[in-house]
């Protein structure tokens, strides 16, 4: 986001910054950047380290002297981590697609005024922002529906987020009415207006909402912890929890092939890379997405 789009520097009426203020600002910004970036770099470095590097540093490695991809080779060689990676990927792709379809459909219907029952549907959706059903009732519902211990339980119970719904609806409502009228006069029905006019005009906000959904599916571990008792169905986040936080040993570490810590950090890297890879492309749309949903409505 740009603070002052038209200005490249200091406006003419503003006094020169003092040397102390400038220095303090540079220091503060560098410090903040380092605090955020350092852990990521150290994690990557450790994942590439050999046993001796890790032993020498006593923990996180700043710079691996003998970089090796052993940890990654182990992670991708089949076994529980590869399996979990595949499940996370599947749940994220299918979940995002289903969530987008349901959210777009509902947001589009709610963005049109005078639709029969529109106010009722809108109230139904918005009221869910005020309360959450809670862990126990959700668990019992999922169990009743026969979704316990299925991968569907990772997607269906969190299919539509009211927040994302509001973001999309606000955006659809902001599209020029003349355009939709013109499409209607040209003989397009509601479905074609959606697919030929509304969606092509909303690519940016759709990308942001899709990112929000994808990230939440990719990162989710509690739904898996709650609804899955079969460890072979666990997604990556839950496996990572076992490995790093729970301190479970990997089979590679048991065999003494790859250092345990390198494997842990490799799984962390694998968990972060997909997000870090798509994030820069969507970053410039964040502001719009967040603001329409958060304060302005």
């Amino acid at each position: 986001m740009d603070i002052r789009p038209s200005r490249t520097g200091r406006p003419p009426w503003m006094e020169r910054p003092s040397r102390l203020g400038r220095g303090g600002k540079i220091l503060a910004i560098s410090l903040i950047s380092v605090v955020v970036i350092y852990p990521f770099l150290a994690v990557v470095a450790t994942s590439l380290s050999s046993e001796s590097d890790i032993a020498a540093s006593g923990g996180l490695v700043i710079w691996p002297s003998h970089p090796t991809f052993d940890a990654y080779r182990y992670v991708f060689s089949g076994g529980i981590v590869s399996q979990a990676l595949w499940i996370s990927f599947l749940v994220t792709v299918v979940g995002t697609a289903l969530s987008m379809a349901a959210t777009i459909g509902m947001a589009y219907g709610l963005s049109r005024s005078g639709v029969v029952g529109g106010r009722f549907f809108l109230a139904t959706a918005l009221f869910t922002m005020l309360f959450t059903p809670g862990v126990i009732p959700m668990f019992l519902t999922v169990q009743k529906l026969g979704m316990y211990n299925t991968l569907a339980s990772l997607v269906v119970p969190s299919l539509v987020s009211a927040f994302n719904l509001v973001v999309l609806r606000s955006f659809f409502m902001g599209l020029p009415a003349e355009l939709l009228d013109a499409a209607r006069i040209d003989g397009l029905g509601d479905w074609r207006i959606l697919t030929r006019v509304v969606l092509p005009l909303s690519k940016a906000v759709l990308a942001v909402v899709a990112l929000f959904y994808a990230v939440s599916y990719w990162n989710a571990f509690f739904s898996a912890l709650l609804y899955l008792n079969d460890t072979s169905k666990w997604p990556l986040a839950l496996v990572l929890r076992g490995l790093v936080i729970g301190g479970e040993a990997t089979s590679a570490a048991n065999e003494g092939v790859v250092p345990q810590q390198a494997v842990q950090m490799a799984v962390v890297v694998v968990s972060v890379v997909p997000i870090a890879a798509i994030y820069p492309f969507l970053q410039r749309y964040f502001t719009k997405g967040v603001l329409t949903g958060a304060v302005k409505g």
Binding site: P11, I29, L60, A125, G134, I136, G189, V295
Partner: protein, 357 residues
């Protein structure tokens, strides 16, 4: 359906009740005028204009595509947001999963009595408030400060770079964040090394119960402080630059401009967010705390949400857990509604006013 347009409405309206030609013309005319009026207000047109003269069934037929599109979302909310509310019946029962809601024994308020007699519940409640309070003091102001700092950076390129950096952790899941913190602050982490090299005693940040509320706040700041700046940056951006210029011309210095232009400019947003935050005081990062509860122990790490989880799903005390969950839900709802009411008092849009537009 192609061909579905304003004309469809008119046809649909006219088909069942045949009218005389002048009547029909007048009706059409009314509708056209309605359309023009509506369009000049800048809103979607036909539904508001034509809808009133149609019967319910005709309107359903006219909107069938839109209704079909809304159906999956509506069903989702019905099944996963509203139907589970009946699950709270188990708060008044000696609920057994195999007997179900209908046949479990009704015990009235017994679960609540048990709950209030359980010291672990009060510990969880206290912890929730302590963590919430520390987050309010540390985590709430952090994005405001960062936003002020970012907005004061003149170079657009540096600002964009820093923004990219500080937004990123928001998208990282709690499992990864707790893992990273464990590596950095944990017993073998970089900070321990730094501390021991300057002769400070060892301190395990990750498992010290007294430090836990602070740890939770620090993690929350690391993850979401940058993301939180978006709203405040937008508020800062919306301040009329002319005000700064006019103030400067009037001889106001840096500090005076901050006090008299910047602060009043962002105050409405700050107050609104603060009020809304107070409304969710019973919810403290559930996933974040659940992940670390065992490391610090239940005495420091149990909050209301984890209490419900452990007593219900993990140890099968369904009734008590549901009772705790119900209390949290009801108090939470009251707080959110109250917070919105206060927000409206301050002349702000709360979260539920959106629906009126």
């Amino acid at each position: 359906m192609p061909g579905e347009s304003t004309l469809t409405d008119i046809r649909a309206a006219d088909r069942p009740v045949p009218r005389s030609a002048p009547e029909q013309a007048a009706a059409t005319d009314r509708r056209v005028r309605g359309r023009v009026r509506v369009r000049s207000r800048g809103q979607r047109s036909r539904h508001t204009a034509a809808g009133s003269s149609l019967t319910l069934w005709q309107r359903i037929k006219r909107d069938k595509v839109l209704l079909a599109l809304m159906l999956p979302g509506f069903l989702y909310f019905a099944v996963f947001s509203y139907a589970p509310l009946f699950g709270y019946l188990s708060a008044f029962e000696d609920y057994q999963p195999y007997t179900g809601f209908i046949h479990s024994t009704w015990v009235g308020m017994q679960n609540f009595t048990d709950l209030f007699a359980d010291s672990a519940f009060w510990t969880a409640l206290t912890n929730t408030f302590v963590i919430s309070l520390i987050q309010l003091v540390l985590f709430f102001p952090a994005p405001i400060g960062l936003a002020l700092l970012l907005s004061s950076v003149a170079s657009g390129r540096i600002r964009k770079f820093v923004q990219s950096v500080v937004y990123l952790p928001h998208f990282i899941g709690w499992v990864v964040i707790v893992s990273i913190f464990q590596e950095v602050l944990g017993p073998t982490g970089a900070v321990q090394h730094m501390m021991s090299s300057v002769g400070l005693p060892r301190f395990d940040f990750m498992s010290d119960p007294g430090f836990f509320p602070w740890l939770v706040a620090i993690q929350a700041i690391w993850k979401d402080c940058g993301w939180g700046t978006i709203i405040f940056l937008a508020a800062l951006l919306s301040i009329d630059q002319g005000l700064y210029e006019a103030a400067a011309v009037d001889g106001a210095g840096r500090w005076r401009r901050f006090r008299s232009v910047t602060m009043p400019g962002i105050m409405p947003v700050v107050i609104l967010l603060l009020i809304l935050r107070l409304g969710t005081i019973l919810s403290v990062g559930f996933e974040q705390i659940l992940l670390q509860r065992d490391t610090v122990g239940a005495k420091a790490g149990e909050v209301l949400d984890t209490y419900v989880y452990y007593h219900g799903v993990a140890t099968q005390q369904w009734g008590t857990a549901a009772a705790a969950g119900l209390i949290k839900a009801v108090v939470g709802l009251v707080l959110v509604l109250g917070a919105n009411k206060v927000a409206h008092r301050f002349g702000q849009e709360g979260i539920y006013s959106r629906g009126d537009r």
